[in-house]
Amino acid sequence: MGIRFVLMVNKQGQTRLAQYYEYLTIEERRALEGEIVRKCLARNEQQCSFVEHRNYKIVYRRYASLFFLVGVDNEENELAILEFIHLLVETMDRHFGNVCELDIMFHLEKAHFMLEEMVMNGCIVETSKSNILSPIQLMEKAS
């Protein structure tokens, strides 16, 4: 419901982060990622950020070398999801400081933690950056 998956993919099509909120087998995931990534990467700047795929929509946005793709139900507000993607990026930026693709790659678990604080079971839970980041910062202080 709501959000079905969140993917971060680089320009060559390699997945950098994948979080699914509905169950798919590994083969299905690979196939899905392949299809979607091909579709989105083939689009240019002028085209709109919403792609219809099978029975759901994909909202995507490109930040530098990374594409953020969010698969949502058909009833979801697409503009709100665009905002959400931006919020995610800003949160990561605040934590990592000038976040780039490598940061996400080498600190995958932290990226996951952040995403988990923001989205649960496909719904947006928290939108305040400080609230999101406080448990993570606590954990880092502790370890």
Binding site: M1, T15, L17, A18, Q19, Y21, Y23, I26, R29, R30, Q46, Q47, C48, S49, F50, V51, E52, N77, E78, L79, A80, L82, E83, F84, H86, L87, M105, F106, L108, E109, H112, F113, E116, M120, N121, C123, I124, V125, E126, T127, S128, K129, S130, N131, P135, L138, M139, A142, S143
Partner: protein, 836 residues
């Protein structure tokens, strides 16, 4: 140096994977890592479990199977330290899903963690539960989660709220327990909790009507107030997004209001103010603002009627439509599709803009706009819209063409004011996008009542099949259609198999198939199969043709191509001179269009096929007549001897008669029985050895070697050629005399028919049937029954007596009156006798 030391190792692994140049290399590295991890697991290595799990997650993300790591997750979750638990839960959520049995083992751990003193651990457990719990787990742990909804820490509360959502989705019966708690969540100040609380309420309403009622009554006002507060709140740095405070909360609240207001007038009443305020005051120069406006419009459209608000909403959508940002236009088109059911007038105003969007360069927008246009079509604007769409079809992308064509076809089918217009439009579409026109559309077109069109089309396909396939002779502005040979055969087959095809059409299809079998040798076998199928047809005409054509295809291939050579060109001037009357416009126009074949053709005398039936009429008038009756000849030649006009019989026919001749087998024009006589005579002239039975049934005249119709009894043929059966000479006029005929003779019975025609009534034949009993026994209750083909009408007078004396001592006579009518089908005749 310990090879399994922490983060560096993960980093190293990632570096190693990144350094791989090929997929095979990557697989090798991953396999090595997996082996190492498996070894560590079996050694029960405590210290670096979580590093291994992190590596496993990375590998999982790349798409490799990692189920051996699942037990590791469990062990990590069970360990006391927070980092271990953290990564354990993360691994749990990534590597497992609700269907795995391993999940059940975690239930106990989660239960303990839910009551943990460390609130972060409680949070972790709630998170995991909220993401992947199964129905059993939900049932087990629901009371815990309920309790946590009132926890002191807002972070826990918000997580508990979302966890509850999953629980009530998995186990809807538990919904009632959560209603009260959810309602109290709505009074929170903390945005996170508010957000999730609203979400919980929304889902409760979806799951349980009781909850819906409760929230409607008690909470609507409260919600409105909350929204007002949020909308009017001062700048809050925490939740601010480009100048608007917490747009996500705005949107969630609007969604809940939508659910509450839908179908309920009171609730909608109370929302009107705040909706108006949000719609007017929200800034729309930033995406966040637009998102809120979009949600607001959506809510307005769903709740109960309020004229003013609706106008406001449609205006906002209009503004969106003219924005340059593709995203905004896309959502506007989306919303308009919903709005159209409520207020189509308002949407019609934006028709021009929407049409522009159909031509947009962005595929998503084009698709949406096309669907919207499809919904906008009504009787008044269908013509202009279709014109625009067809114009666009010419220049559209290939991928889009398919969709566009399908939509155009269905619009045209549903809304066409006249059949003629329908056909015109379809003909315009077909050259452009014939490829994309799906089978159903083809069938629908063929199914339209213009039987004539079908016949013409079928004939054209037969005649000019090779031109169709070779794309020869297309007009300049048309795109080439790639029609394959089997496509052409498909179409003819469709036409022949349709239930509503009448006999004429089917016969024409058979002829077309014969021609195609000669022109398309590759499809010859398939065509033969179709033809063979009709050998068993109960309809005599079809059966006869099928048998003959089959034998031509199988045995007489050397003459086949000569037989089905193309019709020569008709002299248009002569032809139009002969057509005194009006032929329906549709026939002539439709002839022209998609197949772009030469319309008028001038015909020299050397046409092989025609000559076969041209027979004795080589005189001038006959020539011009045959030249003039182009269409007649084309179709008449194929159909029946009746249509070919030879002999002195001039075609003083009105145009409609011409048409009649073309398209109805064997129906003579009203005024001339001479024509029937002619046809017969000409046919007979052809064959010195009058094999009446043979010839009557053979429409296409050709090779004398054609095998006689198998399976058609002489009896049937008689009736087939009813009317002037006998060898009447060429007569200008009525009242030819016909010899009597022994219709049936056996050892016991002889039936004789005497024919006559009344002078003024050429269509009616009087038959006097005479029955003679040859056996030694008398017949009593002798009843003669007759059935006739459909083109005849039978009237039986009562017989002179019912008893037939034996040995020819007497006879029974009975008068029958047969009147000729158009269209025919075969039925056998039977006579019943009763023995003494």
């Amino acid at each position: 140096m310990n090879p399994f030391s922490s983060g560096t190792r993960l980093r190293d692994m990632i570096r190693a994977i990144r350094a791989c140049k090929t997929a095979a290399e990557e697989r090798a590295v991953v396999r090595k890592e997996c082996a190492a991890i498996r070894a560590a697991i079996s050694e029960n290595d405590q210290d670096y479990r979580h590093r291994n799990l992190a590596k496993l997650m990375f590998i999982h993300m790349l798409g490799y199977p990692t189920h051996f790591g699942q037990m590791e997750c469990l062990k990590l979750i069970a360990s006391p330290g927070f980092p271990e638990k953290r990564i354990g839960y993360l691994g749990l959520m990534l590597l497992l899903d609700e269907r795995q049995e391993v999940l059940m083992l975690v239930t106990n751990s989660i239960k303990q963690d839910l009551s943990h003193t460390n609130q972060y651990i409680v949070g972790l457990a709630l998170c995991a539960l909220g993401n992947i719990c199964s129905a059993e787990m939900a049932r087990d742990l629901a009371p815990e989660v309920e309790r946590l909804l009132q926890f002191r820490d807002p972070n826990i509360r918000k997580k508990a709220a979302l966890c509850s959502i999953r629980i009530i989705k998995k186990v809807p019966d538990l919904a009632e327990n959560f209603i009260n708690a959810a309602a109290s969540l709505l009074k929170e100040k903390h945005h996170g909790v508010l957000l999730t609380g609203v979400q919980l309420c929304t889902d409760l309403c979806k799951v349980s009507t009781e909850a819906l009622e409760y929230f409607r009554k008690k909470c609507t006002d409260g919600l409105v107030k909350v929204l007002k507060d949020v909308a009017n709140s001062p700048y809050a740095p925490e939740y601010d997004v480009s100048g608007i405070t917490d747009p996500f909360l705005h949107i969630r609240l609007l969604k809940l209001l939508r659910v509450l207001g839908q179908g309920d007038a009171d609730a909608s009443e109370s929302m009107n103010d705040i909706l108006a305020q949000v719609a007017t005051k929200t800034e729309s120069n930033k995406n966040a603002g637009n998102a809120i406006l979009y949600e607001c419009v959506s809510t307005i459209m769903t709740i109960e009627e309020n004229g003013g608000l609706r106008v406001l909403a449609v205006n906002i959508l209009g503004r969106f439509l003219s924005s340059r940002d593709n995203n905004i236009r896309y959502v506007a088109l989306n919303m308009l599709m919903k709005a159209i059911t409520l207020d189509s007038q308002a949407v019609q105003r934006h028709r021009a803009t929407i049409l522009e969007c159909v031509k947009d360069s962005d595929a998503s927008i084009r698709k949406r706009a096309l669907e919207l246009v499809y919904l906008l079509v009504n009787e008044s604007n269908v013509k202009s819209l279709t014109k625009e769409l067809i114009d666009y079809l010419e220049i559209s992308d290939p991928e889009f063409k398919g969709d566009l064509t399908a939509k155009i076809c269905s619009i045209v089918e549903k809304f066409s004011p006249e059949k003629i217009w329908y056909i015109d439009q379809m003909l315009k579409v077909l050259p452009q996008a014939g490829n994309y026109v799906k089978d159903e559309v083809w069938h629908a077109l063929i199914a339209c009542e213009q039987e004539t069109l079908v016949r013409v089309a079928v004939w054209c396909i037969g005649e000019y099949g090779e031109m169709l396939v070779g794309n020869a002779g297309m007009l300049n502005q048309e795109d080439p259609i790639t029609v394959t040979e089997s496509d052409a055969v498909d179409v003819v087959e469709t036409a022949i198999r349709r239930h509503s095809s009448d006999l004429t059409t089917r016969s024409m299809c058979l002829i077309a198939l014969l021609k195609l079998s000669s022109r398309f040798p590759s499809c010859s076998q398939r065509i033969n199969d179709i033809v063979v199928h009709y050998k068993e047809s109960l309809v005599l005409e079809l059966q006869q043709r099928a048998i003959e054509f089959n034998s031509i295809i199988e045995k007489h291939q050397n003459i086949r191509s000569a037989l089905v050579e193309r019709m020569p060109v008709l002299d248009e001037a002569t032809y139009s001179g002969r057509r005194a009357g009006s032929v329906p416009a549709a026939v002539s126009t439709s002839q022209g269009a998609p197949l772009t074949l030469p319309n008028g053709v001038a015909k020299p005398t050397s046409a092989p096929l025609v000559d076969l039936l041209d027979l004795s009429s080589d005189d001038g008038p006959a020539l011009s007549s045959s030249g003039g009756d182009f269409l007649q000849d084309l179709l008449g030649v194929d159909l029946s001897p009746a249509a070919t006009q030879q002999g002195g019989n001039q075609a003083q026919k009105s145009g409609t008669d011409v048409l009649l001749d073309l398209l109805s087998i064997g129906t003579p024009p009203a005024q001339s029985s001479p024509s029937t006589a002619d046809m017969l005579s000409s046919v007979q002239d052809n064959q010195s050895s009058v094999d009446i039975l043979d010839k009557l049934g053979s429409p296409s005249g050709p090779p004398p070697q054609a095998s006689p119709p198998v399976g058609s009894s002489p009896m049937m043929d008689l009736l087939d050629g009813f009317g002037p059966v006998s060898s009447a000479p060429v007569a200008e006029n009525n009242g030819p005399s016909y010899p009597s005929l022994v219709a049936f003779e056996s050892s016991s019975l002889r039936v004789t028919f005497n024919f006559s025609k009344q002078p003024g009534n050429p269509l009616t034949t009087l038959v006097e049937a005479q029955f003679v009993n040859k056996s030694p026994n008398a017949f009593s209750n002798f009843i003669f029954q007759a059935a006739v083909p459909k083109f005849l009408q039978l009237h039986l007078d009562p017989a002179s007596s019912n008893t037939l004396p034996a040995s020819g001592n007497g006879s029974i006579t009975q008068k029958l009156r047969l009147t000729k009518q158009p269209a025919r089908e075969e039925t056998p005749c039977n006579a019943h006798t009763d023995r003494l």
